[in-house]
Symmetry: C2
Subunit: 457 residues, 2 copies
């Protein structure tokens, strides 16, 4: 009757009795990569896509909070008790700073957003999850995603048993529009419902690729023609290097085909964990004939997922927005400069190490793309890149990066690695690239592999 | 080719093409109740289960943050840069205050918890969602829940297409153990897999009922015998009125049958949105033969849901824990006193209004339970209680409460209402109960209804 007290037969679960996502490598890949970084703390790391830490300080949190509280009392006319309640009590599911976010989107993106179509979320990731939950009605629904794709997209879809069908992500143009149409048709022919295509139009993670203006217009037209939504993820748009910015898909969206998934992790503070969805699609309830914005439905899902986003965290973000007149492009001018300089240094460093002075490829099979902004560069090499090689690179050469194969659903990226430029110093970039070149030289000189590579330094 | 620019054919979604939970009343019930409250801001409200606001202030947030930062630098030896990074940067998925939570659970609950089995979450709600996601593998899995059940439980399960089977919640004993066993057997006989039973052993929301010590032991034995987990939700345990506390299920759990879902919303600050799961169940992977605590799997799910809980929000909670020597029972002494006084006043007030001096029922069909702690009292009346009556009560009498029918999956609670005592003042309680008595009197005097009720005041 009381086996619970018998120490010889301890109760145990099996992964067989847990959701299948838990044995899917995609859910472990972030942990696995973090674990390698943890074991080699002294390695130079081109791995994490985290923002530079020189621009963060705890004192900023205090200041942002005080700014936001002043805004509540002085501009919004709240009493001290109301202010205390706004930050400390449970808050509205949709959030408390949607007005401020709309002003930020007007300032930074030229977007005209109704705050009633904004849902504040626990980072981009929750915004994505809310949308995927809303769109996945049964096993016939599928998602399209430009590949290579962010692991957080693949993982969230996996949690919801929502298949992700890859769309070719052309290196030069960001997305292969013909393949997008082909994938929509193929899914429909198989009796499936392609609901949306996920993409990062600016300096994508992990590819660094971007989509040009003409293709943005074409994408919107295709979404309308083929009746799908576009999920626009835009964490790196403000870090556009030396070139002019392009308008976001959402800024060009006349037909409300775009759900915009915003993040303040790179532009304000990752530690706030504040993001949002702009979901202005009208949703009609056939039972009542009434429509409500999709945001209202996302809010219902959120109420059962996290109840509401911490108003303290929202206040931190709100305070920073107010301090900078809602202009995060301006607030991030130094960060943009830093990332642009790092990107230039990495691209120059790769050229110096892997290319002859004439500009021709130095080593057969070694090439890289040349993003004009963002955090990421993809290096292609003439040997297999996998987690074992990462382990070897960390142990033998003290340099970390990310195997691109993690970002492909099937085969793909197996001779590529992602270099993140956001968290490295000038010295680390030079030393790190030297170490990477030594790894490449070792691999290229192995019997059975391609011709040997030699660093130019 | 560009229908998106044609204003005559605007794109529209239909609720038919969104997840079915979005048309389930359960996901709208919280919004609906909040909406009534919003329309009648001057009504006296026995509706929300929110903590009293007299104990909150924004300055506490600043102090808690500074306390936590001192702990990081002085006790943990972090540099200022490391401290800045800990609060501002992305953090570990599991969280940054599991050690402090373990010390709190030792101090307040006598629980011996390994921090490696703790996952910090965006409130109780996310902890619950992580567990339900892990346990729901396919359409054969079902959850048991003591009914009436918290709407957040029913809603989260609905998001995951996880059916909830009710277990009778005996008013006197909190749970009908025979019915629990019967429900497990019935589910298995139907080819289903009852994975766990959700319950609130202390002063449940919405019933206010509690489970006695002997039944806690029996529950644990039954869970082991019938191979189910127990999901213990404990937001009100520290508000135990004038009586001694009982040990939590988790404190008595020798067989690791209990997943403990913790919340700091009532004991620290709702606005932090910080909760946690203690999930020490070993999970074996048959492919490798290795085991890891269930917490490690919950962490993988969380990494794709919210990435990590805001370290700023965790720091606020951590700071408060440190300031009070990890003893939240002590930190909440004033709050406990307040809630106990309010509960006494409401119970006395009901007796004065609805019961003769001899103690016998005054009005046929009017009764209420007598919880010894927590936030909630359930009043049973001899007429139908629904959202229309709530609207009438708000408009005509200026008093708000919660129809109990929202907490039942099928029929049930249709002549009951929940009174929350947490957010009302002494004066509001008296005036509010007068208004409620007037509503009851009106309803009881209607032709076809039961004999008229008269207030004793």
């Amino acid at each position: 009757m009381e086996p619970s007290t018998d120490p010889r037969t301890p109760f145990e679960l099996s992964t067989d009795t847990l959701h299948p996502s838990l044995t899917d490598p995609v859910l472990s890949s972030m942990n696995l990569l973090n674990e390698v970084a943890h074991r080699f703390p002294d390695a130079i790391s081109f791995a994490p896509g985290r923002p530079c830490e020189d621009f963060f300080a705890v004192e900023d949190i205090h200041r942002h909070l005080r700014t936001f509280c002043r805004y509540l009392t002085e501009e919004r006319g709240l009493t001290t008790a109301q202010m205390d309640r706004t930050l400390c009590q449970y808050g509205p599911t949709n959030g408390i700073i949607q007005e401020l976010v709309a002003r930020n989107l007007a300032a930074d993106e030229g977007m005209d957003v109704d705050p009633a179509t904004v849902v504040m979320t626990v980072g981009f990731q929750e915004a994505l999850f809310l949308v995927l939950r809303a769109l996945r009605t049964d096993e016939r629904d599928v998602l399209l995603a430009v590949e290579p794709a962010y692991v957080g997209l693949t993982g969230a879809a996996r949690l919801l048993d929502l298949p992700v069908r890859p769309v070719a992500g052309a290196a030069a143009t960001g997305v292969d529009l013909d393949d997008l149409v082909a994938q929509v048709r193929r899914a429909r022919a198989a009796g499936l419902r392609p609901r949306a295509c996920y993409l990062v139009p600016d300096f994508a993670n992990p590819s660094g690729a971007g989509i040009g203006l003409a293709d943005r217009h074409r994408l919107l037209a295709l979404a309308d023609e083929h009746d799908i939504l576009l999920l626009e993820d835009n964490p790196y748009g403000l870090f556009h290097g030396h070139r002019e910015r392009l308008p976001t898909l959402k800024a060009l969206d006349r037909a409300r085909r775009v759900i915009y998934l915003g993040s303040f992790a790179k532009t304000v503070l990752p530690g706030a964990r504040v993001g949002y969805a702009v979901a202005d699609q009208p949703v009609r309830d056939p039972a009542t004939g009434r429509t409500a914005p999709l945001a209202a439905h996302l809010s219902k899902i959120k109420s059962m997922l996290t109840v509401n986003t911490s108003p303290i965290a929202q206040a931190v973000v709100g305070g920073k927005l107010i301090e900078h007149g809602f202009d995060l492009a301006d607030a991030n001018a130094r960060a943009r400069e830093r990332y642009a300089r790092n990107l230039d240094q990495v691209l120059d460093g790769l050229a110096r190490r892997f290319r002859s002075s004439a500009g021709a490829p130095h080593t057969a099979g070694i090439e890289w793309n040349t993003p004009t902004g963002g955090f990421f560069v993809v290096l292609t090499v003439p040997f297999t890149v996998d987690d074992d090689l990462l382990e070897h690179s960390a142990r033998r050469y003290g340099v970390l990066w990310t195997p691109m194969c993690h970002f492909y659903s099937g085969a793909g990226g197996d001779r590529q690695l992602r270099l993140s430029v956001s968290l490295v110093t000038e010295d680390e970039i030079e030393e790190g690239l030297d170490r990477l070149a030594a790894l490449v030289a070792e691999r290229c000189s192995r019997p059975g592999d391609r011709p040997a590579a030699r660093s130019t330094r």
